[in-house]
């Protein structure tokens, strides 16, 4: 949340404008009161002719128009301010996420982050569009009104000064006595509110067990409990407004009484002054009420602010790049020296990873689930930054290389390739350097074994897929990803081998394609197939984020008992 000080620095112009509009709006209110009272006084007591009052009526109309316009202007600045802040925050978040959100995706928090960008940012709107303009108005206008009241009729001013502080005091007292109770109720509310959704989500299960009819009563009961819990909390809020209204009504009664007594008994004020007091006092209390409401709105946004702040404070771990071009006549030599990676202090970490990968080598990374295989692949790919150690490419620290010349040499074939909204052709072309011809795209599709499928589609390569278009099966997506690689002809291929679930055809195509691509590239595989592992030039065995051992299949069989037992368990097959 912007503090007022920060706000004043960043949006000085807007704040000043709001202050000016509030001053003008306050002046209009005072002018309106004077004109109203003047006209009534003239018509009622002085017997002034209607025609003579016309200019004053016109002035009054102008004052009212001013009051409305300045109020509108104030609100409009607030809305603009909110829009500016929201845009700023969104682009800050986008900047941050587009730099480092591989971590987010790795830790499965994408949905949460989408909601931060969409909903949380929108939740702060009220703070800028309502709360700030309202607070400025409510600070300036009542003071102007009070000054006017004091100059015109001191006693009314005194009554207001004495009674007005009771409003916040009352609110605080009521607030304190019910705070604990209402917090307890809020917990209850949270528990109840999920019940309806819970039942709807479980409807299939309920029906399968023939229980769904009985749930009606439960929904009703929990809804009514929810109502009662909510009412307890709301009563507090209502009691607050009641106190506010009660006090303002009482004080206005007092003011009326005092004015009347002076008019009749002491006869030391005029009708004009008395009536002016009766007009100005309610305006004063109304503004106080608005301030109360504004605080309520402001409080609602503070949760959203904290969440955004936390999000923006998360460490930024961008991958660093330089400008040195990567020459790629043949695959580069890649070396990790004591590289490490972690995302959260307490969380999982890769540590002390040292591996040399020569050109055209086939490397298999193996290890249990959660040992860090995919994370290592992401570090090698340059998708996340290593937090320690160094990564050398052809003997030079990778961060000195130009980002695009590195990624131009890289293909990543994952278990779940992502298809962008667009046509099949566009989705394949995204893999290649710019300006791939249709022939090249189709040739790549042919090699990846999707030509047949695409031919069966009405629009062929121009069929839209991805978010908006026709869904493809897992195997088909995998083949589109392969087509991308064939088009790109990278010199480094990172491959996350599928575990289960592919159809035989894709399985075969995948095997062949990798063999084909390997002719011109270094291949680093998170391996799940014994076949792949056996034929690897180098096996990296990971456990809990550390390299246990590196070697060929034969060497590891001899030296590492863990490896031996893993392999023999698999070859035994039926271990049930």
């Amino acid at each position: 949340m912007h503090s007022w000080k920060e706000l004043a620095q960043e949006h000085k112009g807007k704040l000043i404008l709001m202050v000016i509009f509030s001053l003008l709006s306050g002046s209009s209110i005072i002018a309106q009161a004077y004109l109203l009272v003047y006209i009534v006084n003239e018509a009622f007591l002085q017997g002034t002719a209607f025609a003579d009052l016309l200019p004053y009526l016109a002035l009054l109309l102008a004052a009212l128009l001013g009051r409305t316009l300045f109020n509108y202007g104030n609100g409009k600045i607030g809305v603009r301010l909110a829009a500016l802040v929201k845009s700023g925050l969104r682009s800050q978040l986008l900047r941050k996420y587009s730099k480092t959100n591989m971590q987010t995706a790795m830790y499965g928090r994408s949905g949460e982050k989408v909601s931060v960008i969409m909903d949380t940012v929108d939740e702060i709107d009220d703070y800028y569009s309502s709360y700030i303009p309202q607070v400025i108005q409510s600070l300036i206008i009542p003071i102007m009104l009070l000054i006017t009241i004091f100059t015109e009729h001191f006693t009314t001013g005194i009554i207001i000064v004495i009674t007005a502080p009771f409003i916040p005091i009352f609110m605080v007292i009521i607030g304190f006595s019910t705070k604990d109770k209402s917090e307890e109720q809020l917990d209850k509310m949270a528990a109840f509110s999920g019940k309806f959704l819970d039942t709807l989500q479980g409807l299939t299960t309920l029906k399968l067990y023939g229980r769904s009819k009985k749930q009606k009563a439960e929904i009703e009961e929990s809804s009514l409990n929810f109502r009662d819990a909510t009412m307890v909390v709301l009563k507090t809020a209502f009691a607050n407004s009641f106190a506010l209204e009660f006090i303002s009504m009482l004080s206005m009664g007092l003011i009326a009484l005092e004015v009347a007594i002076r008019l009749i008994i002491f006869q030391n004020i005029t009708f004009f002054t008395g009536f002016l007091m009766l007009i100005l006092a309610p305006e004063f209390y109304n503004k106080l009420k608005e301030l109360g409401n504004a605080f309520h709105t402001g409080r609602g946004s503070s949760g959203a602010f904290n969440k955004l702040q936390k999000e923006l404070d998360l460490p930024d771990l961008p991958v660093e790049w330089g400008s040195y071009p990567l020459e790629a006549r043949k695959p580069p030599a890649i070396a990790l020296h004591d590289a490490s990676f972690y995302y959260e202090e307490e969380g999982f970490r890769l540590d002390h990873i040292s591996v040399d990968i020569s050109p055209y080598e086939q490397v298999a990374i193996i290890g249990k689930t959660g040992s860090g295989k995919s994370t290592l692949l992401h570090v090698i790919a340059g998708l996340v930054a290593n937090t320690g150690g160094e990564i050398l490419v052809n003997g030079r620290v990778r961060s000195e290389y130009d980002e695009s010349s590195w990624f131009n040499e890289l293909s990543y074939i994952s278990q779940h390739p992502y298809l962008f909204s667009g046509t099949v052709a566009e989705n394949i072309a995204i893999g290649g350097r710019t300006g791939a011809t249709r022939e090249e795209i189709e040739a790549a599709g042919e090699k990846a074994g999707i030509a047949e499928l695409i031919a069966s589609l009405e629009k062929g390569y121009d069929t839209p897929i991805g978010e908006a278009g026709r869904g493809l099966s897992g195997g088909e997506k995998q083949r589109v990803a392969l087509a991308r690689a064939f088009l790109k002809q990278p010199s480094i291929i990172l491959f996350d081998e599928p575990t289960v679930g592919l159809d035989l055809r894709t399985e075969r195509i995948l095997q062949q394609s990798i063999k084909e691509l390997a002719k011109h590239a270094t291949i680093i595989t998170v391996a799940h197939r014994l076949h792949t592992i056996k034929h690897a030039d180098k096996i990296i065995l990971l456990d809990s984020g550390r390299v246990v051992t590196v070697g060929t299949h034969e060497a590891l069989l001899k030296t590492n008992s863990d490896y031996r037992s893993m392999v023999s368990a698999e070859q035994g097959g039926e271990q049930r």
């Binding site: 709807l200 067990y209 023939g210 159809d503 035989l504």
Partner: protein
């Protein structure tokens, strides 16, 4: 608008709260008007130096009105909110009544997971219907009616002016903005939807965006979309502000008219000057609440949309369930598929094509194949979840579409891939399966599925969030075992368990189900030697059927899948 009538009907169940909110709202409003008119009259009287008792009566009235008004407002808030929440409860129940007969077919129709969350959100939106749309105009109308009648007693002209003002501020201005509101809202929704889709793509496609160097481009597009969304919001907000300001101005202008006409009538001699301040105060006060009418259109529009979305899901009336025959079983059933094809409503391609199958009574069948090949769909068709199927599915020779679904479910012990667990205890979640089991029985079953480390009183969070994947599956199996009827339908019931546990649990299951008909969808291929038949599927078609030995000897699809699986290195 028709959809809202359903809501209104439900609303009228809470007559007492409606009437009390209206009465309290009316009292609160009219006494506020009374308070200010009395003080206006008071001051005018005072100027003429009247006898002191007149003054005392007036002052007393002012105070009394003040107190009553504050109490009235409190009562209004209290009863209107209570009524709203009771109405919400009725709404939930009524919605549930209408949805219940349609489930789970309806989930088949809308496969998107957010349907339910949207439903819950829409029900919540409707809370504003009573609170902001339904009763405030009634209160406003009553207050104006009384005020206008009262004013008419002093001056017809003023009554007319106030009436015109009332029409302007509560009907004409809001109606004018309501039309534009709809357009603004539509633009806003569209922009929001687009942005949300693109942002999601940023996260799920991150790796590919980065590697294919489209990140900067994407960020640029996103920034532009975010900007245009914010602009649209700004437009909507300003539109709102504009309508509010216009409303305020009209109501203030009415007071000027009241004053002007008053001054004119006094000059003409048809109005006593002593009433001028009072009339002015009346008009200033009575229009104070009309500003709330400025937001009326947007609440109305929201409620209308929520109501029509809800009725699009479930209709406005409880659906009449067609009378169908009940399935009756006293031994394990035989199931047949005769050239069955099935397509999900929002998809082009068939999920199942021309399936012919036979599951003999008391047999044990496994369905295997790559993911997306239609295994689970096939299993679900037996439960009659899917609405329109081509071809016939027969249970003991009876066509499934002529059978009452619930009578099929009665005999089915089902474990799906996603099993729901309710907020409550382990016991609550087991009790769903049977009314008659004792705690001892539950404990015994828990031991069988290796969940002995749980107490029956242990808490289960919503959706079983505090249980691991394997624990959830075992609890679901425990539930199915408690039911123990003649037909077992199991969809990858042990996918999250390690193979040792999985094998032990299958042993228990097969022992319990030895005389029943059992269909198991499995992604693993080991342990299938004991099955009577194995069905191999690919792309919605059956590739092979046979026993384990037959399929292995045949060296076909199953054999190859098996070769791959054997070489899979789980680490």
């Amino acid at each position: 608008m028709k959809d809202l009538t359903t809501v209104i009907r439900l609303l009228f169940k809470e007559k007492k709260d409606i009437i009390l909110s209206i009465i309290c709202g009316f009292i609160g409003g009219i006494t506020a008007v009374g308070l200010f008119s009395a003080s206006g009259y008071l001051i005018s009287q005072a100027a003429l130096a009247p006898p002191i008792y007149t003054l005392m009566v007036l002052v007393g009235t002012v105070k009394l009105f003040g107190i009553i008004s504050a109490i009235g407002r409190y009562g209004e808030r209290y009863y209107s909110h209570r009524g709203t929440f009771t109405m919400l409860s009725n709404l939930r129940v009524s919605f549930y009544e209408r949805l219940e007969p349609l489930a789970p077919q309806i989930f088949q129709k809308f496969r998107s997971g957010d349907l339910l969350a949207r439903i819950v959100g829409d029900v919540e939106t409707l809370q504003n219907f009573f609170l902001r749309v339904f009763y405030p105009p009634i209160v406003l109308f009553l207050v104006f009616l009384c005020t206008i009648s009262f004013t008419a007693y002093f001056s017809i002209a003023h009554a007319i002016v106030i009436f015109v003002g009332f029409l302007l501020t509560t009907v004409l201005v809001p109606a004018f903005f309501a039309v534009r509101q709809r357009r603004v809202d539509e633009g806003l929704r569209e922009k929001r939807g687009k942005l949300s889709t693109e942002v999601t793509e940023l996260f799920y496609g991150f790796r590919d965006l980065k590697i294919y160097q489209r990140m900067d481009e994407k960020e640029e597009t996103l920034n532009q979309m975010a900007e245009s969304y914010v602009r649209e919001q700004e437009k909507a907000r300003i539109h709102h502000l504009y309508s509010e300001s216009l409303n305020t101005f009209v109501s203030l202008a009415v007071s000027v008219a009241v004053l002007g006409i008053g001054a004119y009538l006094i000059t003409e001699g048809t109005l006593n000057g002593i009433f001028l301040a009072m009339l002015l105060m009346i008009s200033l006060t009575v229009f104070e609440d009309t500003t709330s009418m400025a937001i009326f259109p947007s609440h109305l529009e929201d409620s209308r949309r929520a109501a029509s979305r809800l009725s699009a899901v479930v209709g406005n009336e409880p659906t009449e369930v067609q009378e169908k025959e009940d399935l009756r079983l006293d031994s394990s059933p035989e199931i047949k598929f005769q050239s069955v094809s099935f397509t999900y409503s929002e998809e082009e391609r068939k999920t199942l094509t021309q399936i012919d199958l036979h599951f003999p009574a008391g047999s044990r069948t496994a369905i295997v194949g790559p993911s997306g090949s239609g295994k689970s769909t096939l299993l679900r068709l037996v439960l009659n979840f899917g609405t329109s199927v081509q071809g016939d599915i027969l249970i003991n020779g009876e066509e499934i579409r002529k059978l009452n679904e619930e009578s099929i479910w009665k005999y089915a012990n089902v474990v799906l891939q996603e099993n729901h667990f309710f907020y409550g205890t382990i016991r609550d979640n087991l009790k769903i399966a049977t009314d008659h089991a004792t705690d001892g029985c539950f404990v015994e079953i828990l031991a069988k599925v290796e969940l002995s480390h749980f107490n029956l009183d242990d808490e289960v969070l919503e959706k079983g969030a505090n249980l691991s994947g394997g624990e959830k599956q075992r609890l679901a199996i425990a539930r199915a075992m408690l039911k123990n009827s003649y037909l077992w339908l199991l969809d990858e019931p042990t996918s999250s368990m390690d193979s040792v546990t999985s094998t032990r649990i299958y042993r228990e299951l097969f022992e319990l189900a030895k005389d029943d008909t059992l269909i198991l969808v499995s992604h693993r291929l080991n342990g299938l030697e004991k099955m009577d038949q194995i069905i191999v599927m690919e792309e919605g078609q059956i590739v092979e059927v046979g026993s384990y030995e037959q399929l292995m000897k045949q060296k076909g699809y199953f054999y190859e899948l098996k070769q791959i699986e054997q070489s899979v290195f789980h680490g």
